[in-house]
Amino acid sequence: MKPAPFEYYAPDSIEQALDLLREHGESARLLAGGQSLVPTMNFRVVQPGVLIDLNRVEELKYIREEDATLRIGAMTRERELEVDPVIARKTPLLAEAMPHVAHPQIRNRGTLGGSLANADPAAELPVIMLALRARLKVRNADGERWVGAREFFVGMFATDLAADEMLVEIELPSTPPRTGWSFMEVAPRAGDYALMGVAALVTLDEERRCTQARLVYLNAGDGPVEAKEAGSALEGKIPDAESINEAAELASQKEINPFGNIHTSPEFQRHLAGVLTRKTLNQALERAQGNVLQ
């Protein structure tokens, strides 16, 4: 058999899962969609003594619209996010990124919470959560707390979660009016890990002046990387080719920190980041302007 032996539990409530997590502590791992954890177990890189399978916890699977916000249960499958009409309407940036998240078979099984807790710097979902300023609800057996996406991702495959804590819900603020969005990435083949990817979110005022610009990159450091100076450089301006170029230069040459890998050098990743920044900003601005006219 491929993985090392482990004890297996399949609780059907959050409470049970948290009690098990507290009981088994560091030796336990939570199993969400398993699309990253199981491969590492098959390689025996990871050998948890106890596996707590969350797939039977139905109360973690939902997409709810509540006034201005969207609440998503941590065990909601990626495929659900891809096809959900509320997500397409309320957070089109997330909907646009979903087809880029691995392959169809992976999205049928993979979950939002699982991808965020895994915190792979090359993954799309942490980037989107940071761009959207998601708030993450975390629970242990004693209670709950909320963590902003900026504080949640603390490093490579590392999050703010303690050993007895579990991510249970993701709260997404809705996209404000006159906001444009765009997600683009470059991958050797569709569904493979991208060499570089960018999420852009731009809000304009009634005079088409940029009030807020966010640019977040994947595979550009040890977590989702936000180019804050590039975003600030656009704010207060009516974005034109010059200011877009300036933002792309700042982000790609100064703010991101790509490592390169077997498929690419850091220099090529920076080149891609520059190109993708210009493209995503142009598309986001076009969409934001479309919203101005409405």
């Binding site: 058999m1 491929k2 993985p3 032996p5 699309q35 199981v38 399978d53 078979q105 049928n108 569709a190």
Partner: protein
Amino acid sequence: MTQTYAVAVTVNGVSYKRTVEARMLLSDFLRHELGLTGTHVGCEHGVCGACTILLDGESVRSCLMFAVQADGHNVTTVEGLAHDRDDLHPLQQAFWEAHGLQCGYCTPGILMTLIPFLKQTPDPTEEEIRHALSGNLCRCTGYQHIVDAVKLAAVKMK
């Protein structure tokens, strides 16, 4: 002694009960416990797509699930497609006619990927077909004949 767990699962309409270790992958369970060797095992870490099966009607990689997780669920494997060897599923018939396979190793996974795809997308464009196949590696035909077979299958299955 290693702990074992009871698994009751329906595969291709037949109910099975077995007792296995939690670490047994669903792909190995199908092949070694149930003798259903139509599900092929390639990379065993979720890259090649050869082991794709249907779990409650949706395509998933059986090497990235433990058999215990399938307890109470419905599984369909490539053995569930044809009624018998002279009465192939239209998708299989299309692969035969359009030369959509060469060595055949990737074929079961590709067929099981395409069953829900063609249900959801009965009139697919070539781009949609290629996206649907992105999670399945074929090292023989270069995909052209596979894409042709999917186009033919879409016509047959209407």
